[in-house]
Amino acid sequence: MSRHNIVLSVNGKRTSLEVESDRSLLDVIREDLKLTGTKRGCDNGDCGACTVLLNGKPVNSCLVLAVQADGQDVSTIEGVALDDELHPIQEAFIEHGAVQCGFCTPAMIMTAKVLIEETPQPTREEIKKAISGTLCRCTGYVQIIDAIQSCGQSSK
């Protein structure tokens, strides 16, 4: 079968789509759902810019087939802010100068969100490991780690 009807939850919203077998989750998020916050950096799983949460776990959406997301939960950057307010992680990124060109920022934020939920007060080493699958060419990572660490401390 080369075309599939799938039903998945995207940022908490029930979403029905018809997708071809060979389209990646990244393709479908950006083109069919028009959620362009998730970026394409390489299409090979080498850069992490396409990171989304699949059932709460960070994955390279370029290496997940859209059809594999049937019945699953997908979270993207567009679902992070809470109604009219930014999520504390988003605020922290802004406050700590963790954003430069912004291309890796959605991926970093998705990863950070999961990290803080699983490890409320991560050490810098734990943060580095958690974000190690997303490349950043601009920031040198320092202020990104500062931002994530500050979220950990403030969730005391």
Partner: protein
């Protein structure tokens, strides 16, 4: 000391919200009604004659709008900065010069169709032998990459000061080394992307990530023959550039697609195409020799640079010029003879990359000084300090030498930040080395580099509701110039910063400002902005003086109000005056044109110091950067958080340059086509301790005393790491990047 509200403060980026929510639209995120998708058929060989291009199968594929080849190009089909010798499309009977030359363009209704059509284009090539090194290109009988260019020499330089023979005669000790630096890829996360369409009036609009919108207009005009008044280029928020998007990248091909196919088109390069297409850091071979007295005073410096300029050498003459002059660095050298040659090859192209030639020079210069220190058995920091440029001394390299020399101050600060040398416990099988590096990095003080005769413009409009718009021709690459401009306007006009909107990089709305490069925007646009805001302030103050019935010289701006000096009574709010001025038709939109007073100089300079503690594992050769420190004197720092970000970011690129990054080209072919083979540092590759700091010596002609700073952190950070390794295990490093295996091989012998 004047207290500023915004300038000098680490205010939040004004474009941050869109970036943290994913709302910011990069060029690849734009979707226009009826938009089609483009693909470029790149050359299959680094050097080949294109015999025949058969597009029939591709054209007949359902969903294909147009296949474009050179014969469809109406203009010259040639473009390029400095020398317009790059073909937009290589046609039948013509030769390709590298893998990134374009043979055909596909425009199709879907991206998938465009990819399919690409595979259906049949090209017959006569494969020719590429020139795969500067040596091969300079050899007798080598073919000319560009007709008439003897020996494939794109450009050459010579810098002479004093008398080199006298210098070496006076020297008691000589050291010599040849350094080979790698081809470093900018590796911006956002690949070359753009959207283009022609509107009902026949105007071509290009939205793309780029560093010089005006140059893109120029190149489209040259290649396609479209009148400049019918070309509108707007820079989109750019996902990193670092010089790789400085010269026109895909915009000419994209323009051809939209113009010829007469549909809106989106073109986004994939990662491998990106690695091939845009130009890289010049790989250099630098033979360097110094002669010094036993007291450490350097008497003579001699060096030859051979630089791989690639096929089009787009900015080689500028980059090489800087490499040559940066070989002097921050030192006072009485006798100098430096030469450089940029050589055309069929490898990947070479042009600008953060540091712009100075990082290569840094590796050689700081490397040879460190080697001299070892030969003299002298502390290398002491040796450097002995040769530092002194205040008031003239610089040898042609930079504007009007900055107070703060090298000693930097030396003190970096020593403080480095702290004591790490205690080494014997028998751990690990050795620690420390090294310092110093430089005098340049930044642009002028407008157009050639002849320095133009001005840089900016426009500001104040609205009656006390909000303002700024129109600046530079582009936002992530470095934060949008924020810097907002800070200055908010400061000068007493506005809330969230009431300042900054538009950048639009050739229709923004006055000519030149390129976003050479760490120049803060200096040139900041100065232009001060001129513009001063005019607006004048208008406001003059009108306010009438309303308050005082002399305008008595009035000051303070906290969003205009009031009389020393007066305790309420002044007029900015909004009140702005409204009055607006209602009366007074001019609240001004342009500032900044022109550097002297014509001779293009570059001013800053000072910097880097230091590294590196641990080497004697068994495995593993390299661990324990501590990395960068201290810069860039004059007044407009935004400390953003400025630190530049130092951290550049330092990690420098770490990659030293240890992991090598874009390998063999026989003209790319051997490292993805991020799996071309390795930039991840978060787990950071130094354990990482420090960025500033010393602020105000620069009289800079806005608030500021200079440029964004590029510089690469210049000495790489050699500091390399020299620290050399000091740890007593080896010579002459080729980068350095691998643990190299250490193991050389420790053994």
């Amino acid at each position: 000391m004047k207290k500023f509200k915004y300038v000098g403060v680490g205010v939040n980026r004004v474009d941050a919200i869109g970036k943290v929510t994913g709302e910011t639209k990069y060029a690849g995120d734009i979707k226009l009604p009826g938009m089609c998708y483009g693909k470029i058929l790149l050359s299959a060989y680094p050097r080949a004659r294109v015999l025949r291009i058969d597009t029939r199968s591709a054209e007949s594929l359902a969903g294909v709008k147009k296949i474009i080849t050179a014969k469809d190009i109406q203009g010259n089909n040639l473009y390029g900065y400095y020398i317009p010798h790059r073909p937009a499309l290589v046609g039948e009977g013509e030769e390709t010069r590298y893998l990134g030359d374009s043979i055909a363009l596909v425009v199709a209704e879907t991206y998938a169709t465009a990819c399919k059509a690409l595979k259906l284009i049949k090209v017959d090539y006569e494969i020719l032998t590429p020139l795969t090194s500067p040596q091969a290109a300079m050899a007798k009988g080598a073919y000319q990459v560009h007709d008439g260019v003897e020996g494939n020499v794109a450009c050459n330089y010579e810098l002479i000061h004093g008398d080199i023979k006298t210098g070496f005669d006076a020297a008691e000790v000589m050291v010599e080394q040849t350094y080979c630096t790698s081809r470093q890829e900018q590796a911006f996360l956002e690949t070359e992307s753009g959207v283009a369409f022609v509107d009902e009036s026949g105007i071509l609009h290009i939205y793309s990530c780029l560093q010089d919108p005006y140059d893109v207009v120029e190149d489209i005009y040259l290649a396609l023959g479209i009148p400049k008044s019918k070309i509108h280029v707007k820079a989109t928020p750019t996902g990193g550039a670092f010089g790789g998007k400085l010269n026109t990248t895909i915009q000419v091909q994209l323009a051809a697609m939209a113009y010829i196919a007469q549909v809106p088109v989106q073109l986004v390069l994939d990662r491998e195409e990106s690695f091939i297409f845009h130009p890289k850091r010049h790989p250099d071979e630098i033979r360097i020799k110094i002669g010094a007295g036993r007291d450490g005073k350097i008497h003579a410096l001699e060096a030859e640079v051979i630089s791989d300029a690639g096929p089009y050498a787009v900015r080689t003459h500028e980059v090489l010029g800087l490499t040559v002059s940066a070989l002097v660095g921050p030192y006072s050298l009485p006798n100098v003879h430096l030469t450089g040659q940029g050589i055309y090859t069929n490898n990947l192209d070479s042009s600008a990359f953060r540091g712009f030639g100075a990082p290569q020079a840094g590796v050689a210069r700081e490397g040879i000084v460190e080697k001299l220190a070892r030969v003299l058995e002298m502390d290398s920091l002491f040796l450097r300090q002995k040769n530092f440029l002194k205040s008031g001394e003239e610089t040898i390299s042609p930079v504007l030498g009007d900055s107070p020399v703060s090298l000693d101050l930097l030396k003190d600060r970096i020593l403080e930040k480095m702290g004591p040398f790490p205690e080494s416990t014997p028998d751990t099988g690990k050795r620690v080395g420390r090294a310092f590096g110093f430089d005098m990095p340049v930044f642009d003080v002028s407008a157009i580099p050639v002849l320095c005769k133009s001005g840089v413009g900016i426009a500001v409009e104040l609205f009656s509701d006390a909000s303002a718009s700024v129109y600046a021709g530079g582009t936002e690459l992530g470095q934060g110039s949008t924020t810097m401009l907002a800070q200055i306007v908010a400061e000068e006009l007493g506005l809330q910063i969230n009431k300042v909107f900054v538009e950048m990089g639009d050739t229709w709305t923004c006055p000519r400002a030149g390129r976003t490069s050479a760490s120049r925007l803060t200096y040139v646009l900041g100065n232009a902005l001060l001129l513009a805001t001063e005019k607006i302030r004048d208008t406001l103050i003059q009108r306010a003086a009438k309303m308050l019935e005082t002399n305008k010289d008595e009035l000051i701006f303070v906290d969003g109000e205009i009031k009389a000096k020393g007066s305790s009574s309420k002044g007029l709010s900015l909004q009140e005056i702005a409204e009055v001025c607006s209602n009366e038709g007074l001019k609240l939109r001004e342009e500032g044109w900044f022109k550097f007073p002297e014509d001779r100089y293009m570059y001013g300079h800053t000072f910097m110091a880097s230091a590294a503690d590196v641990e080497v594992d004697l068994i495995t050769g593993e390299i661990k950067v324990l501590k990395l420190v960068n201290v810069h004197d860039s004059g007044k720092v407009i935004n400390p958080d953003l400025a630190k970000g530049q130092l951290y970011g550049g330092s990690i690129q420098a770490l990659g340059y030293a240890l992991t990054e090598d874009l390998i080209v063999q026989d003209g072919k790319l051997m490292t086509p993805s991020f799996a083979e071309y390795l930039i540092p991840t978060a787990m590759d950071m130094p354990e301790e990482f420090v960025a700091d500033f010393v602020e010596t105000p620069y009289p002609t800079g806005p608030y005393g500021a200079k440029g700073l964004a590029e510089h952190s690469l210049n000495t950070t790489t050699p500091a790491i390399l020299n620290a390794i050399c000091n740890a295990v007593d080896i010579d490093i002459c080729t980068i990047p350095i691998k643990p295996e190299y250490i193991l091989e050389n420790i053994r012998t």
